[in-house]
Symmetry: none
Subunit: 210 residues, 4 copies
DNA sequence: TATGAATGAGCCTTCATTCAT
DNA sequence: TATGAATGAAGGCTCATTCAT
């Protein structure tokens, strides 16, 4: 297969992903038909099936992709805010600070983008953990889990079962954040945040190796 | 309206609820049609719409009902196991013990009843918190939140914002439990449990009033 | 049957008529269900069938009633405008003037009340001619045909087959008026009117007995 | 798209049109389901929606088509009867004669084909005037309006606003003819005709340029 | 007379999927 | 690879009508 063709293929695939995400967040997953997606992506209906098994396959890949992006963006935001220009002579890396910052960042983004929140449902953890299972072709996919391991390595504080700590944190933030943002019950996000942050600290603390 | 009619109506409503839950857990929500439900409940299709707005209305009511039952059952199991016959001279009531016991009980029940887990998705918290919002007619509905307040009253240990503690616990258990049971990733339930229990303790501890 | 009951019955019948007309003009005939009508009229669904055979029966009676009202109103408007207070020493009665005035009046009313126009469709003539056929209980129904005969009697100018003249005029005005108001093609009402009026004169002239 | 496909599509469209017209006139518009139409046309139900927006879209196109045909047929009947073989040395073209002949011809056809009359309702004028508005693809559609302009051009007698004259005539004939044929009230068609014809003459006369 | 719960046929419409081109 | 016309099962839902009360 020539490179030209390959690049055309990638373009189509990306157009399908981009447009379907747009439609899913706009009108909801159920109300988006493959027809819609194909039309918006500028390809024929049959072409869809050359790239994805079905709508659910597509949704899963999008969920992983979008949740991952959330983590990567949050991490980058932390970097920008805490060492904008220089890499050297920075304070010792503080895992708790990073994780808390990131979770707040993610919650804020989700609150300001409810369609995305609804699309992700409570599957925020797919951004870190489903990646492996779903056999997502990494290639150009962002991967926070890899960054997380780096952070841990550079951290002066060490953790027992750090991936479980992360898992618990992400599930807690994903689920409680969803309920809080969508239903504002038993608490809206603004008021829930301090409690959530305290528990994130708790979880990390209980995994610390002293 | 005569009593006869009223009772017949209640019967129909309950038949619809029972049969639809059966079908939802058996074949999944999407794959269950209103035709199926009506047929199984022994009523005409149109009758369905006299009792529920649509399939989603029905699902929400079922979710609340089934999740509530989970809490009530867990609580009853605790009672049976710890003071099976006598009410008097029992040890001082231990909230942490109750909550941890209940969460383990719920997780075990969900692991042994995956269709129920799938049906509830990650909405375990509806069993405690969505009730109010969805304006569910309490009447004969079990209500754990009421029991929880009683427990707190009788507890010698007091808690700050106890409903938030419960909320955080339930969301954490519901979401992490779901991922763990369904995907066994990053950890299956058996191995996740100790971590989860530790965090339940942590959450309660951090709400304790010393 | 006691008078009380009879009056209650009349009330219900009238409520059904009034509310259904309201709904028909608001949402259209097809989109109005008997449920809607009964609900708005404050009676049970089954009650509808005690008063009307079906929705079509109801529509026909309403059509006759509303179209009749249009003629009566137009006639009254003429009277008010041309001999507001005194009956005596008025100019000789001019049939053409009356008819032309009335048709203009009706067209103006229909243009300003399109839902009514749509409801009547092109059945304006039912206001004069379908009454007899449909065996409408006259009682308190307005009846323009009766007035028309009076007018003719008092007119110094006499007409051959005057009911046919009226029929032709009403059908022409009803049909051409409808198309003109609804489609504005080939001409909107404002521009069509002079042509229409000329033909009304023509029709009457050709029925004059010289 | 290959010619083969295009031709197949045209075939399907025509089959749908033909069969639906058949069913509408046989059983009425309301009592004809899209299922019926698809079945009779030999296509799948879903295919219907590839060709028409809905049943109303279909009805409108059929109304235009069938009403147009009525005019074309009437015109051809006139031609056949008045200059069956030779084009040359015919008497000067007489617009009034043509129009009156055509209207009589149309009325006779409608009386002998009441299902068609019922289907067209009082929308005979769509055969001449709605065509433009509904954006009907002319292509192979008959178009009487074009013929009418030709007739006018060749006529020694000239008319002011001839399309309005035609409009008034067609609306009058359509509406009065409908009532007369369907209700025979206030006059059946046989007895109404002379009056109608006289008014057609009147209308044309009043548009003549002397 | 009046009710309104129950019916269930039947409607329109959507849509994932196929396949000949 | 790509197309898009065709499929037809399946779905949700409405509604006129009935009938036991």
């Amino acid at each position: 297969m020539s490179e030209k063709v390959t690049s055309k293929k990638r373009q189509k695939r990306e157009s399908l992903l981009r447009q379907s995400f747009q439609l899913f967040t706009e009108k909801g997953f159920q109300n988006t038909s493959i027809s819609d997606i194909a039309k918006n992506a500028g390809v024929a209906k049959g072409t869809f099936y050359l790239y994805f098994k079905d709508k659910y396959d597509l949704r899963n890949r999008l969920t992983i992709h979008e949740a991952s992006k959330l983590f990567i963006n949050a991490y980058n935001a932390f970097i920008n805010e805490h060492s904008p220009d220089s890499d050297e002579n920075h304070a010792p890396l503080d895992v708790e600070k990073i994780i808390v910052f990131m979770m707040e960042h993610i919650l804020d983004e989700l609150e300001s983008n409810k369609p995305l929140l609804v699309f992700l449902n409570k599957n925020l953890s797919w951004g870190v953990f489903r990646n492996a299972i779903y056999g997502e072709p990494k290639e150009d996919e962002p991967d926070f889990y890899y960054l997380y391991r780096n952070i841990l390595e550079e951290s002066p504080v060490k953790y027992r079962d750090p991936e479980i700590a992360l898992f618990l944190i992400v599930e807690l933030v994903g689920a409680a954040g969803y309920s809080s943002i969508i239903y504002k019950d038993p608490l809206d996000l603004e008021h829930l945040k301090p409690y959530l942050i305290r528990e994130i600290h708790n979880i990390l603390k209980s995994h610390e190796i002293i």
